[in-house]
């Protein structure tokens, strides 16, 4: 559901040319910065991350302190986001929730990347029958919904915490990444300098490590920001279905689920974490677009 799958499909067309690394990144940076939307998104993203890290440290409220007298307060000066049904400050809790949501987001995304890179690089690099087999497998399962398998995985482990959520969200989400990486590797493999290296006798792991993988870095960075929204929303969905993280810890998804039942009287409890999710997802999308334009000028839109 992202543009990486276009990238995957048109594997031959969208490869980054093997320019010398330093100027590729400098060029990319310059192009990125010219895109106002992407810069704004990047800024907001960093701001949110910063808020998540800093706010709980400087907050005067204990996020876990139960204080019924103050329950369900609307936004105010002392409680910028109001309080929840236990009287806990939502500003601090939302920041902490962000730590968990974003943390799970990156964790799962990196896991997806890890699996995808291994699978895709293996398939693309080795080629031949192995590639054929692995790709047939991938073709068939492409687009398999991650949610049923995430639910099953969580049911197996029983307790939902940070790491089990990361695992659950990544086991069935790596197909797109694998295909993209394979596409990249295959294209890069055909380049002259790689063939030259092979002819000279450079070992396969050196070729992989020094030439191929670093040149896929661009695509991987884009993939991170394309997968991130899916993972964050996935965690929100799982929390909504009752499979959220253990209290008193909370993620944005589990906070939204907490707030849904009371939405008529106290809508802020569901709205705030949902908006946080939406903002992060939007930013990630813009950043991904910006990166894609920056790293490959040919796909730039007018």
């Amino acid at each position: 559901m992202s543009a990486t799958q276009i990238a995957g499909r048109m594997a031959g067309v969208d490869a980054g040319a093997p320019i010398r690394q330093s100027s590729l990144w400098q060029d990319a940076w310059r192009r990125y910065v010219r895109n106002r939307g992407a810069v704004a998104a990047g800024g907001i993203f960093l701001l949110i991350v910063a808020w998540c890290i800093v706010a709980p440290l400087v907050s005067t409220h204990d996020p876990n302190h139960v204080d019924f007298a103050n329950a369900y307060q609307g936004p105010s000066w002392s409680h910028p986001f109001g309080t929840d049904q236990f009287g806990r400050d939502l500003f601090t809790r939302a920041a902490l929730g962000g730590r968990i949501s974003i943390g799970i987001g990156f964790g799962a995304t990196l896991a997806i990347l890890g699996i995808g890179v291994v699978y895709g690089a293996l398939s693309g690099f080795v080629g031949g029958k192995l590639d054929n087999g692995l790709m047939r497998f991938l073709d068939a399962l492409y687009g398999l919904p991650y949610l049923p398998f995430a639910i099953l995985a969580l049911a197996i482990v029983g307790t939902v915490d940070f790491w089990t959520m990361v695992v659950a969200l990544s086991i069935a989400s790596w197909f797109i990444t694998a295909r993209v990486v394979r596409g990249q590797i295959i294209t890069l493999k055909e380049n002259d300098y790689v063939r030259a290296a092979k002819a000279v006798g450079v070992r396969w792991y050196a070729i992989l490590g020094r030439h191929l993988l670093p040149n896929t870095l661009g695509v991987l960075v884009i993939t991170i920001f394309l997968e991130l929204p899916g993972v964050i929303l996935g965690e929100a969905f799982l929390s909504f279905l009752g499979l959220g993280i253990n209290p008193p810890d909370a993620s944005w998804g589990s906070m939204a689920q907490d707030g849904r039942d009371a939405y008529r009287a106290h809508p802020h409890i569901i709205i705030i974490p949902s908006l946080a999710i939406a903002t992060l997802v939007l930013c990630a999308n813009f950043i991904a677009d910006g990166l894609r334009d920056a790293l490959d000028p040919r796909t730039k839109e007018t």
């Binding site: 559901m1 992202s2 543009a3 799958q5 276009i6 499909r9 048109m10 594997a11 031959g12 047939r136 497998f137 073709d139 068939a140 399962l141 492409y142 687009g143 398999l144 919904p145 991650y146 949610l147 049923p148 398998f149 639910i151 099953l152 995985a153 049911a155 197996i156 029983g158 797109i176 929204p229 929303l233 996935g234 929100a236 969905f237 909504f240 279905l241 009752g242 998804g253 939204a256 689920q257 849904r260 939405y263 008529r264 569901i270 709205i271 949902s274 999710i277 939406a278 903002t279 997802v281 939007l282 999308n285 796909t299 839109e301 007018t302």
Partner: protein
């Protein structure tokens, strides 16, 4: 090309078997007694009888073999929790509703998303363009449970225009399918806009313009057809999203489909239903991929060589 199709078809069999195997193994790892739905402990005799009835007392490989045999003959077994029904019953009764929901959602996406993308591309950087892209971004990013809750509150409870939940008359079907269709809608809008813009830059389009062909004819005959190819290929991952989203949407809107029951089945440890639904969903995705790949090969000759 026929060879390609046959090769793909042949490969789906081991993949399906693998999916069944992995789902089976996953299910076996889940602790929990499907026969203990409440806090009451199940007396030993009752537990024994139940396990015997559902063949859970046999070794796992026997259960697996029986299960595969069942799938091959189209018998997905009895439900462990819904005692009066078999998994086939559940699928037959509830699956069509999910399909309908998914198709309607897809319909919304095509109906609203594609024209939005086309129009935006035809007038790039206009107010319409920015507006359409803004809405599409919002639709994409807002979690669907929030959208659903708000829609029900405003449209049903406050203004009384549509029912809050259920799936009987056509009025019931509007809100849930719209909610589910938001993300695909947004995605299509962006995608179509992007590919159309790209196509519009292509030489053959500029040539056609230079030759003096009517703009409308250029757009409809040449540009649209080529821009819509990616829409076809986007269908597969979107199917994944629709299935995922349906779990939430069916839950909130009380749509009696399989997405709603899946979560209940997992927590109730209704092994056979969970297995049946997971396998079914996987087969659908696999089939959809096959169809899309074939369609893509037909539509875009450029990729035929790349597909080996």
């Amino acid at each position: 090309m026929a060879a390609y199709i046959i090769r793909r078809l042949v490969w789906t069999v081991p993949v399906v078997l693998l999916v069944i195997f992995m789902t089976f193994m996953l299910m076996k790892q889940i602790e929990g007694n499907p026969f203990r739905q409440t806090e009451r402990a199940v007396p030993a005799a009752v537990q024994m009888n139940l396990e015997r009835k559902f063949s859970l007392d046999k070794p796992w490989y026997v259960q697996y073999a029986n299960y595969v045999k069942g799938v091959a003959t189209g018998d997905l077994g009895p439900s462990l929790v819904l005692r009066d029904r078999t998994v086939n019953d559940v699928v037959k009764e509830q699956f069509p509703r999910s399909i309908e929901l998914g198709l309607l959602a897809f319909g919304w996406a095509v109906l609203l998303g594609v024209p939005a993308g086309v129009l935006a591309a035809l007038k790039p950087n206009s107010r319409f363009d920015y507006g359409a892209m803004f809405f599409s971004n919002v639709g994409f990013a807002l979690p669907n449970f929030l959208v659903a809750t708000l829609l029900i509150y405003f449209v049903s409870v406050k203004w009384g225009l549509l029912p809050t939940s259920g799936w009987t008359t056509w009025e019931h079907k509007i809100l849930p399918s719209f909610t589910l269709g938001l993300v695909p809608m947004a995605y299509f809008a962006r995608l179509v806009r992007g590919t159309m813009l790209e196509t519009l830059q292509q030489d053959y389009v500029r040539t056609a313009k230079a030759k003096g062909l009517r703009w409308r004819r250029i757009v409809t005959v040449h540009v649209l057809r080529n821009s819509l190819i990616p829409v076809v290929t986007a269908a597969a991952p979107l199917l994944g999203y629709i299935i995922t989203g349906s779990f939430i949407v069916e839950n909130i809107f009380a749509v009696p489909g399989i997405g709603r029951y899946y979560v209940t089945a997992v927590s109730a440890r209704d092994y056979s239903v969970v297995m049946g639904l997971t396998v079914l969903l996987s087969i659908i995705v696999i089939a959809a991929n096959l169809v899309v790949d074939i369609l893509y090969t037909i539509l875009d000759p450029r990729t035929r060589e790349a597909r080996t």
